[in-house]
């Protein structure tokens, strides 16, 4: 916490970012949206918000996420329900990604494979207002095909373009009324960068805490990025 005398209390009423339910939290997500989904494998995946979006029956999504789901859970739920038009990811064909594999082989879903570091960096660039970046990753490979190659100081780089989304759905550990977030171990993964790169950021947090109870030094995602949140503890014990 801050040293004595360095905190100013909030006097104005602050906007309530807490949604009454997961269904309400995702109510304004439109068909055809580009949706970033946090998580890596089974870690830090916003399962409750995925379920809520599925229950809503949204269609034609482009999903940006590292993986394509684990058996019937996570993004596989989206896929199984036919919500997804296209996946942008780095690791589509894990052993447990049987749902995606079947759909892809049947020609029912489009796929863009991006190297994992370039995927994370493209999302960061989208959030940081950059027009792109030069990376050595992918030079001389088929994943650089159709992309501009620039030579800087004698070394070749691929120009990768930013990624942004209409909506990001995020799994966090703690949230306060501002929307300040912490994460849980490797559940952090893509979540913080995705928070920066979407027009609307919807969070499920394991725990809600009071304003001022998070040490300002340990907040990973400042609340300014967060549109609204639900408290996961109330709806599920899945961690």
């Amino acid at each position: 916490m801050l040293p004595e005398g360095l905190t100013t209390p909030v006097t104005a009423r602050i906007k309530n970012k807490r949604a009454a339910s997961p269904a309400e939290a995702v109510a304004d997500v439109k068909d055809g949206s580009v949706v970033m989904v946090g998580g890596f494998g089974r870690g830090g995946v916003p399962e409750i918000l995925i379920d809520a979006l599925c229950d809503k029956g949204v269609k034609g999504l482009t999903i940006i996420s590292n993986n394509t789901g684990t058996h019937e859970t996570g993004i596989a739920r989206f896929l199984k329900q036919g919500c997804v038009k296209k996946m942008i990811c780095s690791f589509p064909f894990a052993t447990e990604s049987n749902v995606f594999r079947d759909l892809y082989n049947a020609g029912k879903v489009d796929l863009e494979v991006v190297p994992q570091g370039s995927l994370a960096e493209r999302i960061r660039a989208g959030g940081a207002g950059l027009g792109g970046f030069l990376t050595p990753t992918g030079v001389g490979t088929e994943l650089a095909q159709g992309k501009q190659i620039l030579t800087v100081n004698g070394r070749e780089y691929v120009l990768e373009l930013p990624l942004r989304a209409d909506v990001a759905i995020i799994r966090a550990r703690q949230v306060d009324p501002r929307g300040n977030l912490t994460y849980r171990m490797a559940g952090r993964n893509f979540n913080p960068v995705m928070c920066t790169a979407a027009d609307k950021v919807i969070v499920e947090a394991i725990e809600e805490v009071e304003l001022g109870s998070l040490d300002p030094e340990v907040i990973i995602t400042p609340g300014l990025y967060v549109t609204r949140y639900v408290v996961a503890g109330k709806y599920s014990s899945r961690v």
């Binding site: 801050l2 005398g5 360095l6 100013t8 909030v10 906007k15 207002g129 920066t196 001022g212």
Partner: protein, 227 residues
């Protein structure tokens, strides 16, 4: 109007700060530049929740410590004055701080200005005769904020209009200013041109036009500045 009479009607810098502060809406995140803009902080109406961003990684920058013995070198504004943190605020490093501004997360930025042009071009970082200047975060902030408010005196010490047809001072950011707040007027930068929204009491819209290089659009809704 002679200089002495004019001086009596122009807004003081405190009055100007009050007027700009009124422009900040409930729920906004706002960056304040060095100098005059910092003066706006205490004048935000108490019922509005406005958070301030400081380029040096402070989200929720607030007034100076009430007891200055608590002032801390590790909690300074961009202008290097002691500040505090609003409850629920946080810190980020410099690359993340500028990701906030370039990434379009600032609802507004309040910046000082040497010149603003009809198309919103901003010049505020160096004087033409200087070999170079201190740009700081001005270029990144002006280019990224959803709204850029220029806050300045209406004319130079030599009486020249700081609102211009084309900036002659070194450019900070093209087409970035959305509204101009001066000691004489509030002028909106619109696609159709500069719209005079408010003028200081004691002057007429025609007086403001006389002190302004470009032609102003003066709508029927034009009114005296209140703060």
């Amino acid at each position: 109007m002679n200089v002495a009479a004019l001086a009596k009607v122009l807004l003081t810098s405190e009055q100007l700060a009050k007027r700009v502060a009124l422009e900040l809406e409930d729920g906004w995140l706002v960056n304040v530049g060095i100098g005059m803009p910092t003066q706006c902080l205490p004048f935000v109406p108490a019922d509005r929740d406005v958070q301030f961003h400081s380029e040096n990684g402070i989200i929720g920058m607030a007034r100076p410590p009430k007891d200055l013995k608590h002032a801390d070198n590790d909690l300074l504004s961009a202008g290097k004055g002691p500040v505090t943190l609003l409850q629920g605020g946080s810190f980020v490093h410099h690359a993340d701080s500028f990701a906030i501004s370039r990434g379009g997360r600032l609802d507004a930025a309040i910046l000082g200005a040497y010149q603003v042009a009809v198309n919103g071009d901003l010049a505020n970082w160096r004087l033409p005769k200087a070999r170079t200047g201190s740009v700081g975060g001005a270029m990144d902030i002006a280019v990224g904020a959803k709204r850029t408010f220029a806050m300045m005196t209406h004319v130079t010490k030599d009486g020249e209009s700081k609102i211009v047809n084309k900036v002659s001072y070194p450019m900070t950011a093209q087409r970035s200013v959305t509204k101009i707040f001066t000691d004489m007027a509030v002028v909106a930068v619109m696609p159709e041109g500069l719209v005079l929204e408010e003028y200081v009491e004691g002057l007429t819209p025609a007086d403001v036009q006389a002190a302004t290089e470009p032609k102003l659009i003066i709508p029927k809704t034009v009114k005296p500045i209140r703060f």
